[in-house]
């Protein structure tokens, strides 16, 4: 090999090596870049999905909370109206009792008879508001007759005055104090409130669905 050939060979090898090194570097750089792009795409896709899930969850939770709050307000609204009905009913019943008219006197008789019919025995004490003592006394004989008819035996009635103030109505107690039937207006209002809530809601709000 001549010197010139040797130099040419060195030149060729050098050029080849340099090209190879540069080419390898370039390929490595391209590979890194391609991998990074792919990783970024995958990360972005994953992030989009994760964030969408997170936001879906947040939306569901926030709207569910709002729905619950509004549902609570709706129930409160209905409850207030229902309460108003019972308060108004109590007011009206109380006015009937205070008026002491024929309707109320008849009611006292009926309440007494109902009480007697629910208790055993034949001797009873009918306790009323001091205001109503006179009203019941006027009808005592008639009540006694009807009570005897219900019991199929002679019934003895005595009038007592309730110490505690009541809106009206009566408490019937057996003379020996072993049985008692509370038929005061408060007791009846309380029972009506317990029993009529559902029906009152239905009447108040009709057939409307929530």
């Amino acid at each position: 090999m001549s010197l010139l050939e040797l130099r040419t060979e060195i030149e060729r090898r050098t050029q080849e090596e340099v090209s190879k090194i540069i080419e390898e570097g370039k390929r490595e750089a391209e590979k890194i870049s391609a991998e990074a792009q792919a990783k970024a795409r995958a990360l972005r896709d994953e992030r989009v999905k994760a964030l969408a899930r997170e936001l879906d969850e947040q939306e569901r939770a926030e709207l569910a909370t709002t729905r619950m709050d509004l549902k609570g307000k709706l129930l409160e609204f209905k409850f207030e109206w229902c309460k108003r009905v019972f308060e108004e009913a109590e007011k009206r019943v109380s006015q009937i009792a205070k008026g002491g008219g024929q309707e109320y006197r008849e009611l006292l008789s009926k309440l007494t008879l109902e009480g007697i019919s629910r208790l055993r025995g034949s001797q009873f004490v009918v306790e009323v508001n001091p205001r109503d003592v006179e009203a019941i006394r006027k009808n005592l004989k008639a009540i006694q007759q009807k009570a005897s008819k219900i019991k199929n035996k002679e019934v003895a009635l005595r009038i007592g005055s309730l110490s505690a103030t009541t809106l009206g109505g009566i408490i019937v107690t057996t003379e020996d104090r072993t049985q008692s039937y509370n038929n005061t207006l408060e007791a009846r209002i309380s029972a009506a409130t317990r029993n009529l809530v559902g029906e009152t809601y239905r009447i108040l709000f009709g057939e409307m669905k929530e």
């Binding site: 010197l3 040797l6 130099r7 090898r13 050098t14 090596e17 340099v18 090194i21 540069i22 570097g25 370039k26 490595e28 750089a29 391209e30 870049s33 990074a36 792009q37 990783k39 970024a40 972005r44 992030r47 989009v48 964030l51 969408a52 936001l55 947040q58 939306e59 926030e62 709207l63 709002t66 729905r67 509004l70 709706l74 609204f77 108003r84 009905v85 108004e88 009913a89 009206r92 019943v93 009937i96 009611l107 009926k110 309440l111 008879l113 109902e114 019919s117 009807k146 219900i150 209002i189 009506a192 029993n195 009529l196 009152t200 009447i203 108040l204 709000f205 009709g206 409307m208 929530e210």
Partner: protein, 106 residues
């Protein structure tokens, strides 16, 4: 082959130059790889700081606010309707309760 000293020195110089070129090429390749790595890191970082995420959050927040406003509007309509119905039926309901309070079984 006979080589004189001068030519030998030139050959040595050429070899040295070749080595230098290869070293420079390695450096250039290394720089390209390093630049690619830095760019790759930056591409990954960009994913994290993509303004699209904030935009998605803002969009969803607005959507939730609209949803909430719709629910509240619907609630107001429902309450208004119930209010009218309750006002219309109030007397009937009170009468029913009063009747039950005064209803006596003998």
């Amino acid at each position: 082959m006979s080589v004189d000293v001068k030519e030998l020195q030139e050959l040595i110089e050429q070899e040295k130059s070749a080595e230098e070129k290869a070293r420079a090429a390695r450096q250039e390749a290394q720089n390209a790889v390093q630049a690619a790595r830095e760019k790759a890191e930056s591409v990954i970082r960009e994913v994290e700081s993509d303004p699209r995420w904030e935009e998605m959050r803002r969009t969803r927040k607005a959507q939730i606010a609209r949803g909430r406003a719709e629910l509240e509007e619907e609630h107001k309509r429902k309450i208004a309707l119930l209010e009218k119905t309750a006002q219309r039926n109030f007397e009937k309901a009170v009468a029913g309760v009063v009747k039950e309070i005064l209803r006596v079984e003998t």
